[in-house]
């Protein structure tokens, strides 16, 4: 089946998130580039990923890691040329790997020519492409997102002597979506990339597109209308392409972004992630089952994006104060690990480099309903460097081998865009792709295996989920079902061995087959099904009637 015609490809995909800058440097300037990324596609194919999600690579002053775009239709010279991108895209498609790129709709860089024009005078035709005001008193209901750096959502522009609106950094003025010309222009930009062949957009900061007085300026109906308009055009002109929302909201507030299958195809499930970490720390399934109970049903063609870690801090916006304090105390005792309302650390250090917990967390990521998104480096258990500012500590170069610059670049170590990890535990000499490829039991090999098992059935991506509630609350158990296929997942969230009795009467007579080793387990009977589980152990069983 030609890939293009599978319009629901994202439902059963495994997505790999990567910075071009951080993956592989092909020209020795110390910064990763598209030619380098193309060279490493074989690695990604071997790992088993279906799609690559690229962080912003557009020309930018790079004051917010590329989310401050100054030109939407070309590639930042550091990462190569538009030609390099096209070659990479072609190479990826040859390997059946889709490419997802970022599209920052909400704002541009203050270096973008549009903003330069807009601020130049109050009479400029592009003046109302941005949100200007003579006072900073409007929209007081909107919260400030970057609490650590910004004091207000308004910034003073000395050039045109007025205030402009920005929901993020002050160097990222918000575009004015009440202006039809802006909406038209943004679709034109998206079309540019769609015509090049990219498969999906991750739309950044969508809840904030439109501002209205007297609201918190998030999730407004006007914002939804704009998305519906984009989706309609996309489906009409580029069927099979996908829109992925970044909206850090509660599940119930996220639900409207799926619309009636007429807005986003996918959205990230932000509140689940901190609760998975919480569940493992508390040794209690309650946080996880509770948030998934509160998660609304979504239309069949829609999908949740699940992740353990990403390029941002582990965000704790979507938890209660009690939960946030608990997360800080258990995962970020040092203040340096905290940023805004979150924890800026990678997966392995968060889990004390405990292989059992890393596997358990990945096991849940791969078996809960949604499309898993892996963050580059986490498949080998890379560490972080909290001494680097902002979120740069989790954006250090990929560690390919134990040699010069960890195999990332042939440049002088001093000229790398950021320093490599040198830590004896997490540094490139200890943690790298080459050494892990050599061992069947490395984390990398294990990740390849679990991705392979996950991809062996569409059930994880598309099946229904039903929680079992065994009396032992340290065990998280659920059944995934699609058609007549059934998979039982049992996770021990506890650091000690546990006995659990599962009520599997509905599956009486079926034989559980463990999906990794394909061993048979005793047949399910009327009596409670007893399983004993080691610390942080998990099982995936295919329940088969034989």
């Amino acid at each position: 089946m030609p890939a293009r015609l599978d319009t629901l490809w994202y439902k059963n995909a495994v997505i790999y998130q990567v910075h071009v800058r951080a993956f592989y440097d092909s020209n020795g300037d110390g910064i990763g580039d598209f030619a380098g990324l193309a060279q490493k596609l074989d690695y990604l194919q071997e790992l088993g990923v279906d799609a690559i999600w690229l962080m912003p690579f557009f020309p930018s002053p790079l004051r917010d890691d590329g989310y401050d775009i100054s030109d939407y239709t070309s590639v930042h010279p550091n990462y190569g040329t538009l030609e390099d991108f096209k070659k990479f895209l072609e190479a990826a498609h040859e390997r059946q790997i889709k490419v997802i790129i970022e599209m920052v709709l909400n704002h541009t860089s203050d270096q973008h020519p549009w903003f330069q024009e807009s601020r130049s005078s109050r009479e400029n035709p592009r003046r109302d492409w941005y949100v200007w005001s003579d006072t900073d008193t409007w929209y007081k209901g909107a919260r400030i997102i970057f609490l650590d750096t910004e004091l207000s959502n308004w910034a003073w522009d000395p050039v045109s002597k007025s205030y402009y609106w920005h929901r993020f950094f002050s160097h990222q003025p918000d575009l004015n979506y009440d202006n039809p010309a802006v909406r038209e222009q943004m679709w034109t930009l998206m079309k540019f990339w769609l015509e090049l062949g990219i498969d999906a957009f991750r739309l950044d900061a969508v809840p904030y597109l439109v501002e209205r007085e007297g609201t918190n300026c998030e999730n407004l109906p006007e914002t939804h209308a704009i998305i519906k308009e984009l989706r309609q055009k996309l489906d009409h002109e580029f069927p099979g392409r996908m829109l992925l929302a970044e909206a850090n909201q509660w599940p119930a507030d996220l639900r409207p972004y799926f619309g009636n299958e007429d807005e986003f195809h996918m959205a990230f499930h932000f509140p689940l992630m901190p609760r998975m970490f919480m569940g493992v720390k508390l040794e209690d399934r309650k946080p996880i089952t509770e948030i998934l109970q509160q998660t609304p049903e979504i239309p069949p063609s829609c999908q949740w994006g699940l992740f353990l870690r990403n390029h941002d801090e582990l965000t704790l916006e979507m938890v209660t104060d009690i939960e946030r304090d608990y997360m800080y105390d258990s995962y970020a005792r040092s203040k340096a690990m905290r940023l805004n309302l979150g924890i800026r650390r990678r997966l392995a250090p968060l889990l004390d480099n405990d292989r059992r917990r890393i596997e358990l967390m990945n096991g849940m990521l791969m078996s809960l309903p949604g499309t898993p998104v892996l963050y580059y480096g986490d498949e080998i258990g890379m560490g972080d460097n909290v001494n680097l500012g902002d979120r740069n500590g989790v954006r250090t170069p990929m560690q390919w081998n134990g040699g010069w610059n960890g195999g990332f670049s042939v440049a002088d170590p001093e000229s790398l865009y950021t320093s490599l990890l040198l830590n004896p535990v997490y540094g490139y000499q200890a943690v790298n792709v080459l050494s892990q490829k050599r061992s069947e039991h490395s984390l990398l090999s294990w990740m390849q295996q679990i991705i392979r098992v996950r991809r062996s059935t569409p059930i994880f991506g598309s099946g229904l989920i039903e929680f079992l509630y065994p009396a032992n609350h340290r065990v998280l158990a659920y059944v995934r079902q699609l058609g007549d296929e059934t998979i039982l997942v049992v996770n021990n969230l506890s650091s000690s061995a546990q006995a659990v009795e599962l009520d599997l009467r509905r599956y009486k007579g079926k034989i559980p087959i463990e999906m990794f080793g394909r061993n048979l387990f005793p047949r399910v009977a009327e009596a409670p099904y007893l399983l004993t589980m080691g610390p942080y152990q998990f099982y995936w069983f295919r329940l088969r009637r034989i």
């Binding site: 919480m278 508390l282 209690d284 399934r285 309650k286 946080p287 209660t320 009690i322 939960e323 608990y326 065994p470 009396a471 032992n472 609350h473 340290r474 506890s494 546990q498 006995a499």
Partner: protein, 422 residues
């Protein structure tokens, strides 16, 4: 041994599922369906407020309720709470229930809770009465926090009470406990209290089990073993105590489970109480006592009349319990009219001490000795009510304090009667 006899298989299975906990709240019940729900909700809210991160469990030890009390306990959902209290639980909040017997027994109920606490390795354990409908959520942290965070072993409550409530405690149990063991614990017999794992295990292992045949008063025994065992005690002010049915009950059963236990403790702990004099204050959270003064109806005449009748009718009984001087003195005041009647503190203390000594010597059935004290107690109460009829809260406190000092002052007399006519 203890676990084998106390814990049913079903309870063990429930305990396995709960696993290790930090905090356990025990709720002994018997036909408490009318009052238990608000209590469970207050416990849950208190746990959420005070211990959001800790592993907690509520253990209901039921003595054969026929009104569905256990179902109400285990069925009380936290979701109902979210509306009323802004609590949020990080963890699963377990409520388990077990029927230890078909008949209620305070002792077996408490032992079940203790055994569960030991098996679950709870660091702190609280017991709450299902009749405390006036309970506020913050009672739970007030009781448990000193045990959980400050290494105290026993936390007893202080209630806001009417000045004429709990008179057996203020006129006998408190002053005598204080005089004997040197610790000023206001409510040694409490329906709400908390204790540490080590005290719980000690009590479970050393509980002689033969203090009294009625199985009640186990709460006081726990307090006694904490005091005599040198454990760290603490008091927390809780709030207004609502009078449950158990407290409003008859005088004699109340005396059995307080005075009886107190008297019984003397023999085993002779070395502990005979060696020191005076008393020390116990560290206390919140006010030391709060007394309310609104008027209540008391049938004083009846108290006096029962005292007089008791002294006259029980003379043969008193003759083998009391010394001849004390008995003569009692007979003298029994002849006084209502206005002149006065049962002085010193005579009251002597009476109590002689009863305690006779109790130890088993001059007759011990239960009869306790019953014999009841009419005399009524006489003493008559005097207490008269003395404090129009007293302010401070004056009531002062009077109780002076009674305590009298108990302490006459302690040598207890030793004297203890050692003679053996």
């Amino acid at each position: 041994m203890v676990e084998e006899s106390v814990l049913t298989d079903d309870l063990v299975r429930q305990l396995i599922n709960v696993g290790e906990v930090d905090i356990l709240v025990g709720l002994p019940t018997h036909n408490n369906a009318r009052s238990v729900e608000p209590v469970v909700h207050a416990i849950q809210a208190g746990l959420l407020q005070g211990f959001p991160r800790e592993r907690v469990v509520i253990v209901n030890a039921d003595g054969g309720s026929r009104d569905g009390t256990p179902d109400l306990v285990t069925g009380a959902s936290i979701d109902d709470l979210r509306r009323s209290y802004k609590g949020y639980a990080l963890r699963t909040l377990h409520s388990i229930s077990t029927r230890y017997a078909n008949n209620p027994s305070a002792r077996v109920g408490l032992r079940t809770i203790l055994a569960a606490a030991e098996l679950l390795r709870a660091k702190a354990c609280a017991v709450v009465s299902p009749e405390s409908t006036g309970m506020e959520p913050d009672w739970i942290p007030r009781l448990l926090r000193p045990v959980y965070s400050e290494n105290f072993d026993l936390v007893t409550p202080i209630y806001r009470r009417h000045k004429f409530e709990g008179l057996l405690v203020s006129n006998l149990v408190y002053p005598m406990t204080r005089a004997l063991y040197g610790q000023r614990i206001r409510e040694p017999y409490a329906s709400e209290f908390a204790f540490s794992a080590r005290l719980g295990s000690h009590f479970l292992a050393h509980d002689p089990g033969n203090y009294d045949s009625h199985g009640s008063g186990a709460e006081l025994e726990l307090a006694m073993s904490a005091i005599t065992g040198g454990y760290r005690t603490y008091q927390s002010f809780l709030g207004t105590k609502s009078q449950g049915e158990r407290e409003g009950g008859d005088l004699v059963p109340a005396m059995r489970r307080t005075v009886g236990v107190l008297f019984s403790s003397l023999e085993a702990n002779f070395a502990a109480w005979s060696s020191h004099a005076g008393s020390q204050p116990v560290p206390t959270l919140g006010s030391e006592s709060q007394v309310t003064l609104e008027s209540i109806r008391v049938n004083r005449k009846r108290l006096k009349q029962m005292f007089t009748a008791g002294v006259a009718e029980l003379e043969p009984v008193f003759r083998s319990i009391l010394s001849s001087t004390t008995l003569a003195e009692l007979q003298r005041i029994a002849t006084l009219g209502d206005d002149d009647f006065h049962y002085p503190a010193e005579l009251w203390v002597r009476t109590v001490y002689e009863f305690a000594a006779s109790y130890a010597k088993s001059v007759m059935s011990r239960d009869h000795i306790i019953q014999g004290l009841a009419p005399l107690y009524r006489g003493r109460i008559f005097t207490f009510l008269e003395e404090n009829r129009s007293s302010s809260a401070e004056e009531v406190e002062k009077n109780i304090e002076s009674l305590c000092l009298e108990f302490e002052r006459l302690k040598p007399y207890l030793l004297e009667v203890w050692n003679t006519k053996k």
